[in-house]
């Protein structure tokens, strides 16, 4: 049986906020940042933790890593009580806060690695090998000698992640790591994390606003809203719950059914694509039960079908398409998850 890398029961955290009211008095009110959270994560899993600003994500992370003490409930990370066993826990986890640094600000990056290797008591050959591996795969070589404060955001985040992984922790916690990064950097980072997890089996807890992060990196989503758990399941399950549509993208070989190159059709207005689809030499995918043709691209060789998960499945759609045309490649696009999450909040 795999051990639980995170085990949270009834976790709660209140804050007392004092604000001046008038010239001399102050009011105080209690903010319930986290309310009665319960969930557990088995070792090796990757979990996305999403929610609006102020929903309690960072507070939960702080309680899981020993920075903050819960007001009620228990949290166990790597089997340890984060606050009481802070130092032992620190040896087994790596944490990256997107907006704060854990590196030594005015020293060159390699000095941070040196210090961390000493802090985690890594044997020097092991530390060297691991550092070479991380530097290589995160492309840190060109700025190893630059003081951290002179690094760009993207460079610094890569450095932080390398620093967090230097001691090969069992659990990697990332708090908004891709915030402020450009699309290319985000993709490279995600690629690295996928490889790292595959190679070392590191568990991952990721808080983010970026739904592509969640889709790429995690198998499970926790949605937190005003401190409470609003959803715990898979991305597909979430999509299912709020009834948003998934999109199957099909790359086709020219088929025998006489429809041709078309302009892209706007989503949802299936009828408007008729004209484009009429041209010769391209498969006609209209009319498959439970689907809606939303786009025809590349002279009809790539077409997008939207479907509602409850009414049909991706497998059925693909089978139906395969009956009409030769399918070269398939991809499934999840819906705009900002939209999904918003719908989830609204459906509460």
């Amino acid at each position: 049986m795999t051990e639980l890398i995170i085990d949270v029961v009834g976790l709660s955290r209140d804050f007392t906020v004092r604000a001046p009211a008038g010239r001399l008095r102050r009011t105080s009110r209690t903010v319930h940042a986290v309310r009665d959270l319960t969930f557990s994560v088995p070792e090796g899993a990757a979990v996305g933790y999403i929610g609006a600003n102020g929903a309690g994500k960072s507070t939960t992370i702080k309680m899981l890593t020993g920075i903050l003490v819960p007001t009620a409930g228990t949290a166990r990370t790597c089997g340890k009580e984060p606050h009481r066993q802070r130092r032992e826990l620190a040896r087994e986890i790596g944490v990256v806060f997107g907006q704060r640094t854990q590196l030594w600000w005015d020293l060159p990056l390699h000095e941070s690695f040196r210090a961390l290797a000493a802090i985690h008591r890594l044997p020097s050959d092991r530390a060297a090998r691991r550092q070479v591996e991380l530097v290589d795969r995160l492309d840190l070589g060109e700025f190893l000698d630059t003081p951290v404060r002179q690094l760009s955001l993207g460079q610094r985040i890569r450095g932080e992640i390398a620093a967090a992984l230097l001691h090969s922790p069992r659990l990697l916690v990332l708090d908004e790591p891709t915030i402020g990064l450009d699309v290319l950097s985000k993709e490279r980072l995600r690629g690295f994390l996928v490889e790292e997890r595959a190679a070392h089996g590191t568990s991952l807890l990721l808080t983010t606003h970026d739904m592509d992060d969640v889709q790429r990196l995690t198998e499970r989503i926790l949605v937190v809203d005003h401190g409470q758990m609003a959803f715990d399941g898979t991305l597909a399950g979430l999509v299912d719950r709020v009834g948003a549509q998934r999109v199957v993208v099909l790359d086709l070989l020219g088929g025998a059914h006489g429809v041709g190159a078309g302009a892209e059709v706007g989503g949802g207005a299936g009828g408007a694509g008729e004209a484009g689809v009429r041209a010769a030499g391209v498969p006609d995918l209209r009319g498959i039960p439970g689907t809606e043709l939303v786009a025809v691209e590349a002279d009809g060789l790539r077409q997008r079908l939207a479907f509602t998960p409850g009414l049909t499945t991706a497998a059925e759609v693909i089978a139906a398409v395969a009956a009409r045309a030769t399918v070269r490649d398939v991809a499934i696009e999840e819906p705009d998850i900002e939209d999904v999450v918003r719908r989830l909040y609204l459906s509460q």
């Binding site: 020993g66 920075i67 903050l68 130092r87 032992e88 620190a90 030594w104 000493a118 802090i119 008591r121």
Partner: protein, 266 residues
């Protein structure tokens, strides 16, 4: 006690980066020496007008001053920068400390070392070198031991005061101004014979903030003087005890402060 390698790694980087800018460093050391000399100037001016103060002659008061300054600047070099704690609290750097498998205070203390304070140290040593031969000391192993021990024990006491002042920052907002009264007031009180103070104040700077143990009382031992009522010379032998007590208080305060920080968030 964990091995010191991780602390050494950061410290050596800090030292190297400080020494890298030779001219600035030299200027800083000179400036620190200047401040030390400035403070001694007051003592000098006083003794152009009188021949004794608080029962000690110029050489004796110079010894008290030098021992106190030396102890304070040694502590300042090693521990002084813990006063950066409010900055670390604001920037979230303290959270980075909590996420490492090391003691938070240990990381704070070793996060920097203020080598430029060596200037003030040097002034203390120089004054000692001139005043010791003129103080009429009965030289022997005991006296030699005292000369070495006094500034070291004094440094330990002042370091505890620094840590206690830093711990207070967990509760106070902009509290540095307030704790400065105790840190620099303590240093000032330590530099003069506490026999000039009335009994209540003398008790405060001996038994509450142990400034008198950093220089005056042990110097009385060195000089063979009896010392004032309620704080006689033989108390000087208890300076190490005062240092231990000071650290117990400081560490208790620090742990409480850290508990307060993780208990209330920032």
């Amino acid at each position: 006690m964990a091995d010191l390698a991780p602390y050494r790694a950061v410290l050596s980087s800090r030292i190297r980066s400080q020494l890298a800018y030779r001219r600035s460093f030299a200027l800083d050391v000179a400036g620190s020496a200047g401040v030390g000399l400035l403070e001694f100037l007051s003592v000098y001016v006083i003794f152009t007008n009188v021949t004794e103060l608080g029962g000690l002659d110029f050489a004796g008061v110079a010894l008290v001053f030098a021992f106190a300054n030396l102890g304070f600047s040694l502590a300042d070099i090693v521990v002084g920068h813990v006063d950066a704690l409010p900055t670390y609290l604001r920037s979230g750097t303290l959270d980075a400390f909590l996420l490492r498998p090391l003691s938070v205070l240990g990381q704070l203390v070793t996060s920097d070392v203020q080598l430029r304070r060596l200037g003030r140290c040097a002034v203390g040593v120089a004054i000692l070198a001139v005043a010791l031969p003129q103080a009429g000391i009965d030289w022997g192993w005991g006296a030699a031991l005292l000369v070495v021990a006094i500034p070291l024990v004094g440094a330990v006491i002042f370091a505890a005061v620094f840590v206690a002042a830093a711990a207070a920052q967990f509760w106070l907002v902009d509290g540095a101004e307030f704790t400065n009264a105790f840190v620099y007031g303590g240093s000032n009180a330590a530099s003069y014979p506490t026999s000039v103070f009335t009994t209540p104040l003398r008790a405060a700077v001996t038994f509450v903030l142990p400034a008198a143990f950093t220089a005056y009382l042990p110097t009385l031992l060195l000089l063979g003087e009896p010392g004032p009522a309620w704080t006689p010379a033989w108390l000087g032998w208890f300076a190490p005890v005062a240092a231990v007590v000071a650290w117990v208080v400081a560490l208790t305060g620090w742990k409480a402060g850290l508990r307060h920080y993780t208990g209330t968030g920032s």
